[in-house]
């Protein structure tokens, strides 16, 4: 599913170059659940940006679903994000002026904007699945933190992606909502979805099949 070999990324700060990722390798099979841990500033966001096709690496190769995506131009990367990757972020951002159904179906605007009613129907089904069937026409501001994060999962599943990238998905949740979200992610993984999650929380990371720590720009497998 994922093969990253020798990935490198650095940023320029004033006159000097700051390396963030150096010669990073990662392989994930389809249906795997991997957790990546690391301290602040370790490069977790940068890694997600590269794996999520939101940026291109300075060096190395990145294969996603048997296609080399590290050399694609920005329009092709946008299409990969739209069709193959789902995102769940720490802060569950939504478009504040759209109701929940339109928010979940938002990615259709950049994929296949025709048949909006079919898209809305799929969004309704996904919201039912994450337990938000009673909130379909609500605005995001009317939801609790846990509901927002579950809605974010529904949105990430909209395009039926092969890969789900979750960046600190439980970071803003209380224990009860954390437990519910973790349960949802496990269920999705059992259904065959490949999940890569970045988290600070050791307990949450335990649900993953494999765990890595990001140190000095490289991944070190824990419990190996």
């Amino acid at each position: 599913m994922i093969r990253a070999a020798g990935l490198a990324k650095s940023y320029r700060q004033a006159a000097r170059v700051v390396p963030v990722l150096e010669n990073l390798d990662l392989e994930m099979a389809a249906g795997e659940f991997v957790a990546i841990m690391g301290s602040s500033g370790a490069g977790k966001s940068t890694l997600l940006q590269l794996l999520g096709c939101l940026d291109t690496p300075d060096g190395g190769e990145y294969w996603l679903a048997d296609a080399e995506v590290s050399q694609l131009d920005s329009d092709a990367l946008a299409m990969v994000r739209n069709r193959h990757i789902g995102f769940v972020f720490q802060s569950a951002h939504f478009v504040d002026y759209l109701d929940l159904v339109d928010n979940v179906a938002l990615s259709a605007e950049y994929g296949d904007p025709a048949q909006p009613e079919a898209h809305r129907q799929r969004a309704r089904e996904l919201l039912q699945r994450v337990g938000l069937g009673h909130r379909l026409d609500h605005l995001p501001a009317e939801l609790s933190g846990g509901e927002r994060q579950r809605a974010a999962v529904a949105r990430a599943l909209f395009a039926d992606p092969e890969l789900l990238l979750a960046d600190e998905p439980t970071g803003n949740l209380d224990d009860e909502n954390t437990h519910a979200l973790v349960g949802l992610l496990c269920e999705l993984n059992r259904d065959g979805l490949t999940i890569l999650m970045v988290t600070h929380d050791v307990e949450v990371a335990r649900i993953a099949g494999r765990r890595y720590a990001l140190r000095s720009g490289r991944l070190e497998e824990l419990d190996a």
Partner: protein, 395 residues
């Protein structure tokens, strides 16, 4: 197509959610477009009036008026003889003023025009009922009269004026014709050069040699093929009429020249307004740009989210430019409405013809959309430069 439909739908949802912000941001555009509509409406009205008036008056018309002294019949004959074929029409007129009375009503101080049958063609008059004055009337000195539209309505409110009798001064006349309303626009040149032809009674001008016994022959309408012929001949007309006639004061009225002066005044006012309008549109554009920049700042997480969900940078630019153009176009529509009202008020106050038509509407909407696109371009570039992950993690 469906992509743009989605963009417009999304833009409508944004502004519906932020109505007050939208309203405040487009005030400048509303003012600018309403000014533009007013300017175009005045320009179009002036142009229409000019063209209609030229069509009705003819470009080659010269009107000569004498005050104090009657125009001598032999001078008129001399004008006719000397100008010969150059002259298309020469219509002598004697203007008077008196009371007119029917069995039903009396109107004081109406204008009585003594003239011949050529007057009808010279003034492009149309007969509603009956006929105009003929050679026979002039030759036989018949006591017949033709009424202008409004005068006929005043004297015979029930209609059926033709065949009735009216009293003009001490004489009784048979009404043989009732003219249709004139379509000539109101032309106020600060005097009575082009009077209201709907309030006139026409009677036959008898043999000009015998005119001394009746009202003074005080007006000549000369028509030439075109303006150039008229301008060439006017000096000769002046020489013939004024030669050896001490004390005579002649006034030479060239309707097309007066129209042109009026049109030029309206054009100058229009240009001044256009300058003001341009400034207002620029200010309106700055207002929209300011709002859009704030919007981009506020909506950075949304932009990051859209990028993460598969939006290309181009999609983000298109979205924000669409929002800007749409809100500006809505402001433009409001401006059209305000402009149409202002244009009519200006026309009513200054007595100018205005025409709020398709040209004004298209110009207003086009200007508003152009302002919206220009004002939205820079904020849209800013939006497209947002880094998604950082924005989504840190706001």
């Amino acid at each position: 197509m469906s992509r743009w439909r989605a963009r417009i739908r999304s833009a409508l949802q944004v502004w519906r959610h932020h109505r007050v912000q939208a309203l405040l941001s487009v005030l400048g555009v509303v003012a600018g477009v309403s000014g533009l509509v007013t300017v175009v409406a005045i320009g179009e009205g002036a142009r229409r009036e000019f063209n209609e008036a030229i069509g009705l008056l003819g470009g080659g018309t010269l009107v000569v008026r004498s005050s104090g002294t009657a125009i001598a019949p032999e001078r008129i004959a001399a004008v006719q003889r000397i100008l010969g074929a150059e002259l298309d029409q020469l219509v002598p007129v004697a203007n008077g003023q008196m009371a007119i009375q029917s069995q039903l009503a009396r109107v004081d101080g109406i204008r009585v025009v003594e003239t011949g049958r050529d007057y009808q063609r010279a003034q492009r008059l149309e007969v509603y009922d009956g006929r105009f004055i003929t050679w026979y009337d002039q030759d036989q000195q018949t006591r017949v009269c033709v009424l202008g539209w409004e005068l006929g309505r005043s004297l015979f409110p029930q209609g059926g004026a033709v065949g009735q009798q009216v009293r003009l001064g001490n004489d009784v006349y048979m009404v043989v014709g009732w003219l249709a309303p004139t379509s000539r626009p109101e032309l106020d040149f600060g005097g009575a050069e082009l009077p209201d032809l709907d309030q006139v009674a026409y009677i036959p001008l008898v043999d000009t040699a015998a005119k001394a016994s009746r009202a003074s022959l005080d007006e000549l309408i000369l028509r030439f093929d075109d303006e150039a012929d008229m301008m060439r001949a006017s000096a000769a007309v002046q020489r013939i009429l004024e030669f050896d006639t001490p004390g005579a004061v002649f006034e030479y009225v060239v309707p097309i020249e007066m129209l042109r002066q009026k049109y030029q005044l309206q054009t100058v006012v229009g240009l001044l307004l256009m300058g003001t309008t341009a400034v207002m549109l620029v200010v309106g554009g700055i207002g929209i740009m300011n709002t859009m920049l704030m919007t981009v700042l506020r909506r950075r997480p949304e932009i990051g989210l859209r990028l993460a969900l598969g939006a290309r940078r181009r999609d983000i630019i298109e979205q924000f430019v669409t929002e800007s153009a749409l809100v500006s176009a809505l402001g433009g529509l409001a401006g059209l409405l305000v402009g149409a009202i202002v244009a009519r008020l200006v026309g009513w106050q200054l007595g100018w013809p205005v025409e709020v038509g398709l040209v004004a509407g298209i110009a207003g909407i086009f200007a508003a959309i152009a302002v919206g696109i220009l004002a939205g371009a820079y904020p849209a570039m800013q939006a497209a430069a947002v880094q998604p992950i950082r924005t989504l993690n840190h706001g």
